[in-house]
Symmetry: C2
Subunit: 394 residues, 2 copies
């Protein structure tokens, strides 16, 4: 096979992640590689920790990026906190709750699931019922923002409930962090993980995590070793911990961390309030356009994530063909449905740097063109005015 | 804390990795991010597989980069191949053999170690003895190039021995791949892992692995699930497998894979023979300089790795001070000793793009200056002519 340097097409990324990566972050990625024990690098690691503490709204000392994608961040939480035989209640309202269950079982834990329909938020009454029955549960795991459906759950309330029943909490904030409020200390979340490639608009491959003292106490007092050497926080903290002296554990992904540093700096410059506000306003504009066209949202209004908009594919429309045409004709990526929603919905992301007015215009315009051309039953010529009205422009 | 964009110092990396990353690879890293299911990306993934097959000298279909550093590549091999109760013989002649043992035990396996002195190659007679005693052993694990000592072992011979006793083999090629011959098919290695940041001169964060059919058969016929969801090859192969249709498993580290693609392309352009030859010749030149100065190698001549040169720190010399001065005065990084060799040796890497004549000159010149200035007992003024002679120049 003749292989040349890979020059990727320039896409607009409006799927469920990765999101568009701003030029500043891409440029930071290509700065000269230095050693993972270089004093200059260790200073940068401390800054990354501080910036992540801001993003997570926490003072947790153990706040750092795992050197692998979000699924490894998830596994870091479960592998460190679940001991063989531990009962874990998993709230499941989409694909990622299912993955949490898999994690519990592979760690030797016993998973008890609280199931809600896909597209709905986690029902706190059901969780309470379950906790009353399973009094020996030790952990409750929940997804804040279900990337597979676009539903957002009330984490503050669910965590309070878990604590009232003596359970620790693990929260998936992969799609929420930076796009919608995540308040680790205020909500008293014990362990949380996220991803670099969603609302932080960094390149994919890193998973920020944060553990409070209560969670760390469980890790420290384990009777068995953490089953993963790579993800064992007792070891990882020798490298990511306090002080100038760091013990080698694994070689950190140096350049990826440059880019996370830059992405987090951009977030701090805008401010969390600013970022949350931008995500919400842009969601309103996109929603106005999509609804004017006649597309229906999967999730009810109250539980919708601003950064991930799941809409039902109109009857008779060829899902794959639409997405393929959007990509070929407009270099626009939107997301397919996942799991039970495959072929039934599109997931339109407005995450991080992708959450911009120009992207919304492109998306609505391209969708209207392609769907119209394919003879789909949509209203034409009304989306743009509806969006403009929602944006406060006329 | 006031935090600004991080602009790293420009170092010359002659430690045990990361090695110097060539500008082409850094530039590739900063190309626009696209989706992990984008058809253009999938084509690139196929090219990465083909380029890795060349680097590993294998036709194995399961040849791909794990989305995390070398330690996760190691864990991929053990977590997939070791089932609870399996007896695994681990050859241990340095830090990384010890880490393999940890992996076996955390997977529920029973580790039997064959220990050799640090700095020595693995002794095949000792391995044979052990295999005769432990007839129920299922796997033999061995490190090709011990990064902690600079010793190279005869993998072809050891694998043959393991097979003769009915065992599968796991080989650590983190520091060897691209720098010294690694012939997966010819040597009949069953499972192997490496790292991106050593002789491939890519940025750190990826771990190429390759499994042959025999190893895959063991993965497929497991009685228990792989304990790591993230590293479960049964799932990962749905994404990295054959054909245009790929199932989402985790979000691939897109930009990191661009850089691996470029680094592997550079390797193929030079050719493996050319790269091995360059690593060896540059080692001879560095060695001539170091030995002329009076520094002694840890490993005997026959077992020395060309790309990792461990030398004993002269009596009375302050290890940390020397490395700190090299970094501050010359922007040169050399490696400290690890584990039992901490404070006793320096590890000078000539890996990938770091294996260049100009780096050798810098290293010898800087070492001679700093050690001389600190009053160490070394010969001065003789290293440069010795190196030039070794390089065939006068």
């Amino acid at each position: 096979m003749l292989i040349r340097s890979f020059n990727p097409p320039v896409r607009t990324l409006m799927g469920p992640g990765p999101s568009d990566v701003p030029p500043r972050v891409l440029e930071a990625l290509s700065r000269p590689t230095i050693g993972h024990l270089d004093p200059a690098f260790i200073t940068m690691m401390d800054e990354v920790k501080e910036l992540l503490q801001y993003a997570f709204q926490t003072g947790n000392a153990l706040t750092m990026p795992v050197s692998a994608p979000g699924s490894a961040g998830m596994e870091t939480c479960f592998a460190n906190l679940v001991e063989p035989g531990d009962k874990v209640v998993v709230c499941q309202n989409g694909v990622f709750g299912g993955r949490m269950k898999e994690n519990v079982e592979r760690c030797g834990g016993v998973a008890v699931t609280v199931e809600d329909s896909w597209g709905e938020a986690i029902n706190s009454a059901k969780l309470e019922e379950t906790l009353k029955v399973h009094k020996d549960a030790k952990i409750v795991a929940m997804v804040h923002a279900e990337t597979s459906t676009g539903a957002q759950s009330d984490i503050a309330k669910l965590v309070k409930l878990a604590h009232a029943h003596g359970c620790l909490t693990i929260v998936d904030a992969v799609t929420s962090l930076g796009g919608t409020p995540v308040k680790v200390d205020e909500w008293e979340i014990d362990a949380i993980y996220s991803g670099s490639q969603k609302c932080l608009s960094c390149t994919p491959g890193l998973s920020p995590v944060s553990f409070n003292e209560r969670a760390l106490e469980k890790v420290r007092s384990r009777k068995s070793k953490v089953q993963s050497w790579f993800l064992d926080l007792n070891l990882v903290m020798g490298y990511w911990g306090e002080g100038a002296k760091r013990a080698y554990h694994h070689t950190a992904p140096i350049n990826a961390l440059y880019s996370l540093h830059e992405a987090l700096l951009i977030l701090r410059e805008e401010g969390l309030d600013g970022a949350w506000d931008r995500h919400f306003k842009n969601h309103l504009a996109l929603r106005a356009g999509l609804e004017a066209m006649g597309l229906l949202f999967v999730v009810n209004k109250a539980d919708r994530l601003p950064q991930l908009n799941a809409v039902t594919i109109p009857e008779g429309v060829d899902d794959a063909k639409v997405r393929s045409r959007l990509l070929k004709e407009y270099n626009l990526e939107i997301g397919a449905g996942l799991g039970a929603l495959a072929g039934k919905v599109w997931r339109i992301g407005l995450m991080g740097h992708s959450s911009r007015a120009e992207n919304i215009l492109l998306c609505i315009g391209a969708l209207e063109s392609v769907l119209g051309d394919m003879g789909a039953n949509i209203k034409r010529g009304v989306a743009l005015p509806a969006m403009q009205k929602a944006m406060g422009k006329r």
